[in-house]
Structures are given as structure tokens and as C-alpha cells.
């Protein structure tokens, strides 16, 4: 079995979000880049499954649509434990074209399990995994919070409102993962970091595809009005304000 994990390269989650060029461009000055948190968890889970089922998983590949600047992030995925990597050499501008590029490569390579994150923490598209599934005409399961191989069968859970469903599915399929899929992301060790330098990172040139959407400008939400402080000795006042001023209780 071959597993593919789609990883996006995003600003660290504590980044102060600023824009330049008349608010048309995200300011990358001083930004730390990371593997999108869900993708990192998906990769961690793929590695756990490979380790726990000797021989069942042939290899784990990571794929990214991005320019050369994303390579440190890809190397980190290799250091965590992916066996090889593919980078499609295009700037990711919007979900549709990213998914299209991924599909073109995947059609040629054939993977059994393809994992995506539920959303990237830059544009919060929550789109690429679903779009990719449709381009490939594969079944997809979204909100996956558990994945395992048990008795040579795939077992997974997906979150529904107020609980979860246990699901069986054929391969190939796309799993769009969320919280729960792995507890903590793996941290690369020294050996992993050394090995990552020699693992294969294949660069593929993109195909021609139109963008269906365009991010034209950005702005910040209106700042909240200042917080009204209530004296801890007069808690009743808070209830009064919530009832009569904010009218929420």
C-alpha cells in the first residue's frame, strides 16, 4: 500500500498577519513557515500505521504545490519520516488550480490512500481535498479523526455533529483529516534530519490551468470595542450588563 500526504506550507500559527502592496499581498517579512498543522498530523498518523503494520505500507510520499522556497518545509516532512517528496513547481494561488495540479501528478503515480488536511491555516479554503477527490473521481471521507489498518482492513472514523461514525471504505480514497487523527505531531530527531537530506525530492513542472477565483485584497476585521471591566466584588453587575446592555441572556 502506498500513502500520499498533501502538505501545504503556511505561516506559523502565531504569525502577526500583515499585508503590503496596498493590502494586496501577504507580508512574508520575518514569517516562520511550517507544515500546515493538520497535514503534519496526517503525516504522523501515516508513519504510525507504517510502523505498526510491518510490510503493509510500502512507502509514504509527501506532495506540495509550491515554489522552491517551500523546500525547507518539505525537508521537514522527510525528516519526520516520509520516504520521498514531490514538489510541483507553481505558486499556490487558489484551491481549484492547486487541486488540479495535484490530480495531474496523482493520476500517473497511483496511491492507495491520499490524505489531506481539513483546511490550510492561510486561506482557510477547506477545499483542496474535496476538489482533488472530484478531479480523480475517488471516494472521499471528510472530518476523519481516526485511521487504522485492522485485520488488513481499513478502519476509519469521521466526526458528525455530536459524535462519530465508523466507516469502511475501498481504496483508492481520499481522507480529509481533522483533530484526533494523531495526538501530537512528530518532532524530527537528529537522525531523521540527516536522512532527510538524502531522501528523494522530485520537482515536477506544472501544467497550464486557469484560476477560478482571485484574492484581490485583504483587510483586518474591525477591532472590538474596548473590554468593559467589571469589579470582581460586584459580579451582579456583569449579569446586569449581559441582560440589559448586550441583551444576550
Amino acid at each position: 500500500m502506498k500513502i500520499l500526504v498533501c502538505i501545504s506550507n503556511v505561516p506559523d500559527t502565531t504569525t502577526k498577519i500583515k499585508f503590503v502592496n496596498n493590502n494586496t499581498t501577504f507580508d512574508i517579512n520575518g514569517v516562520q513557515w511550517i507544515i500546515n498543522p493538520w497535514d503534519e498530523l496526517a503525516l504522523t498518523r501515516a508513519i504510525e500505521i507504517k510502523e505498526a503494520n510491518a510490510g503493509a505500507v510500502e512507502n509514504i510520499t509527501v506532495i506540495n504545490v509550491g515554489l522552491k522556497t517551500t523546500e525547507p518545509t518539505i525537508r521537514k516532512a522527510l525528516a519526520i519520516g516520509a520516504d520521498k517528496a514531490i514538489r510541483i513547481n507553481a505558486e499556490p494561488k487558489e484551491a481549484y488550480s492547486v487541486a488540479f495540479q495535484l490530480a495531474e501528478v496523482i493520476k500517473k503515480e497511483k496511491f492507495d490512500i491520499i490524505l489531506c488536511g481539513i483546511e490550510s491555516c492561510d486561506y482557510n479554503g477547506a477545499s483542496v481535498g474535496g476538489m482533488l477527490s472530484e478531479f480523480l473521481d475517488y471516494p472521499s471521507i471528510s472530518a476523519v479523526s481516526f485511521l487504522n489498518i485492522e485485520n488488513r482492513q481499513l478502519k476509519l472514523k469521521r466526526e458528525i455533529d455530536g459524535g462519530y461514525e465508523v466507516i469502511s471504505i475501498i481504496t483508492p480514497f481520499i481522507g480529509i483529516v481533522q483533530k484526533g487523527i494523531a495526538k501530537d505531531a512528530r518532532i524530527p530527531n537528529m537522525r531523521g534530519i540527516m536522512m532527510a537530506k538524502t531522501k528523494p525530492l522530485q520537482v515536477v513542472e506544472p501544467v497550464q490551468v486557469d484560476n477560478y477565483t482571485e484574492f484581490v485584497s485583504f483587510f483586518h476585521p474591525k477591532p472590538k470595542t474596548a473590554c468593559k471591566k467589571v469589579d470582581p466584588e460586584n459580579v451582579k453587575e456583569l449579569v446586569n450588563l449581559l441582560h440589559n446592555e448586550a441583551k444576550v441572556v
Binding site: 487541486a99 477545499s127 472521499s140 462519530y164 480514497f173
Partner: protein, 321 residues
């Protein structure tokens, strides 16, 4: 041309979320000079379907094929795309929830329609079609242009006021050809009789400042008095103090209740990503410098263990018992 809404049901019933979508679609139809159609999948009785007319839906395509009782992303996509084609839909609208996230992007590819997820209002212009969406986990907003003839939108929860504009909805049975179903549900595990976090109008949430699971009594009591749900920060669920479903934030649930009461939560940026769209935020924290106060509307700087009992007493008095 029409605006098509996918109206999900929960055990045969719609939710506030559904009426939000239909109200939004109706407002959009006014701008675009069109009408609102709805596609509903699963067993919903006619009375419930008719309710959608109250918010401006004039036509309801009712899909009752029993193979679609549980979500199969690929099959749902076929059905919704076919409904969109039949209704000559210019815009197809989904909720930004698990189902919307699972199906909308597939429909986008199927219909070759540009998609914007997490929109928070009506388009600022129709030509070019320009609309605002949340980005960077609610830390910023973006103006996005959709260039295709058909557009797919997912609407952020609680970003559009429900508005009644009654019309008489006609119900039409719709039974498109269904492709094979690959998603086999073996087991369902679901709580019943409890207000779900994502539906709750009031949420009382505890963080690491609560010190341990044994101290959650007052959080639960407060939620109960207010008819709300309980939530928590990530370390609290990671520690196993509270169940995972309660974890809010960037890597947990994204909620937008009317009132969010954060107790002993510092307000880390990743936490705020999941709760900052709440209408009113109350913070109770002993550290005056805690970042939660930057987003809170009301705050008490004090010890949660002293403040909570008083708060419970005061709310009880308000509720008259």
C-alpha cells in the same frame, strides 16, 4: 437563473443554520433578480420542508432515496450538481460545516464553478462577483473575485441574520440517477438529548486556569442555568480533563455563539481562531494582561474559583429561581 441551497437535515429536522442559509440565499436572489430553490436529501416530512418557504425558498427538490440516508460525498455531489443544472443555478450555497466542507468543493469541480468558502455576507459587487471571506483563521478578511459563470459559496455560521419573507414553497420529488455508494457506515456513536456545542447560543468554556477536571462543576452548572453548552481550550482536552468534542480553536471546533464565557483561558491566538466570531465574549481571568481581554466585551479580573459561585448565584436570581 436561480440560487440553489443545499439544506442538510438532522434526523429529519432543519436547524437555525438552515434558515440562515435560506435567508442569505433570499437576500442574494433579490440582488441578482432570481429565485431560491432548495435541494434536501433524506427523509424530511412536508411540514418541515414547507418551513423553508418562510425564509424565501420558492421551490424544494426533495430527494428521498434511502441509499442517501448517510453522507456519501461522491453520491451527494452528483445529486446536488444535477439539481443545480436542472434549476439553472447561478450560485450554489452550502453551510461551512462538516457536510458543506465535504461536498461543496466536489460540486465546484463537477460544475466547473469557482468556490469561496467561509463568506460572511452578500457580494460587494456582482460584476465582477466580489465577496468577502475569512482568512488566516479569522485574523484577516479577503476580497475574492469569482470568475466563473456558476459560483459555489459556503457561508460562515452566524454571519447572516435570519429574516422571514414567506412564500409558498412547492415541493417536487427529485430522483436523479445515483452512482455507487462507497461509504459504508458500520456504526454510529452520537450523544442525544444534549445541546451540541455547534448549536449552542451560549457557551461556557474552561481553560488550564481551572486547574483540574474535578473543578468543572461550576462550569457545567453555569452552562445548565443558561441553557448552553460547555467547551474548553486545547490543553484541557489534551490532558483528558474534558472530552475532545469540547476543544475550540484553530485545531478544534470553530463556533460563533451569542455569548462565549471564557474562564481561566489565556486567549492564545489559536484559541481565538475558533471563538472570536462570537457576538459577545466574557473573560474571567486573574491575569489583567491575559490576551483574552483584548477580544472580550466584558471582563472580570479575578479568581475564577471566587467569581464563578457568585456568577451562578446572580444568574439564578435573574432566571428567577
Amino acid at each position: 437563473m436561480s440560487i440553489l441551497v443545499f439544506a442538510e437535515n438532522w434526523d429529519g429536522k432543519f436547524k437555525k443554520l438552515t434558515y440562515e442559509l435560506v435567508s442569505y440565499a433570499h437576500a442574494l436572489s433579490k440582488l441578482m433578480n432570481s429565485s431560491v430553490s432548495v435541494v434536501s436529501i433524506g427523509k424530511v416530512d412536508d411540514n418541515e420542508l414547507k418551513k423553508l418557504g418562510t425564509y424565501g425558498a420558492s421551490k424544494i427538490l426533495n430527494v428521498t432515496d434511502s441509499r442517501l440516508q448517510t453522507l456519501d460525498n461522491r453520491a451527494y455531489t452528483r445529486v446536488i450538481a444535477e439539481a443545480a443544472t436542472k434549476e439553472n443555478a447561478g450560485v450554489v450555497i452550502f453551510a461551512l460545516n462538516n457536510t458543506g466542507k465535504a461536498v461543496a468543493p466536489r460540486v465546484s469541480v463537477k460544475l466547473k464553478a469557482g468556490m469561496v468558502s467561509g463568506v460572511i455576507g452578500l457580494p460587494a459587487s456582482l460584476e465582477p462577483f466580489t465577496i468577502v471571506k475569512k482568512t488566516y483563521t479569522s485574523k484577516a478578511l479577503a476580497n475574492v473575485v469569482v470568475k466563473t459563470l456558476v459560483k459555489i459559496l459556503t457561508l460562515s455560521q452566524n454571519s447572516f441574520e435570519i429574516a422571514e419573507s414567506p412564500v409558498n414553497a412547492t415541493i417536487e420529488n427529485f430522483s436523479p440517477e445515483i452512482s455507487d455508494i462507497n461509504t459504508i457506515v458500520k456504526e454510529v456513536n452520537k450523544v442525544t438529548g444534549k445541546i451540541l456545542l455547534i448549536d449552542a447560543e451560549i457557551v461556557v468554556s474552561g481553560g488550564r486556569g481551572m486547574k483540574g477536571p474535578e473543578n468543572w462543576g461550576p462550569i457545567e452548572e453555569l452552562a445548565k442555568i443558561l441553557g448552553g453548552a460547555t467547551a474548553c481550550s486545547r490543553p484541557v482536552s489534551d490532558e483528558g480533563w474534558r472530552p475532545h468534542e469540547e476543544h475550540c480553536g484553530q485545531t478544534g471546533k470553530i463556533i460563533a455563539p451569542n455569548l462565549y464565557i471564557a474562564v481561566g483561558i489565556s486567549g492564545a491566538i489559536q484559541h481565538l481562531g475558533g471563538v472570536s466570531s462570537s457576538k459577545c465574549i466574557v473573560a474571567i481571568n486573574k491575569d489583567p494582561e491575559a490576551p483574552i481581554f483584548e477580544v472580550a466585551n466584558y471582563g472580570i479580573i479575578g479568581d475564577a474559583f471566587k467569581v464563578l459561585p457568585q456568577l451562578i448565584a446572580a444568574f439564578k436570581e435573574l432566571k428567577g429561581n
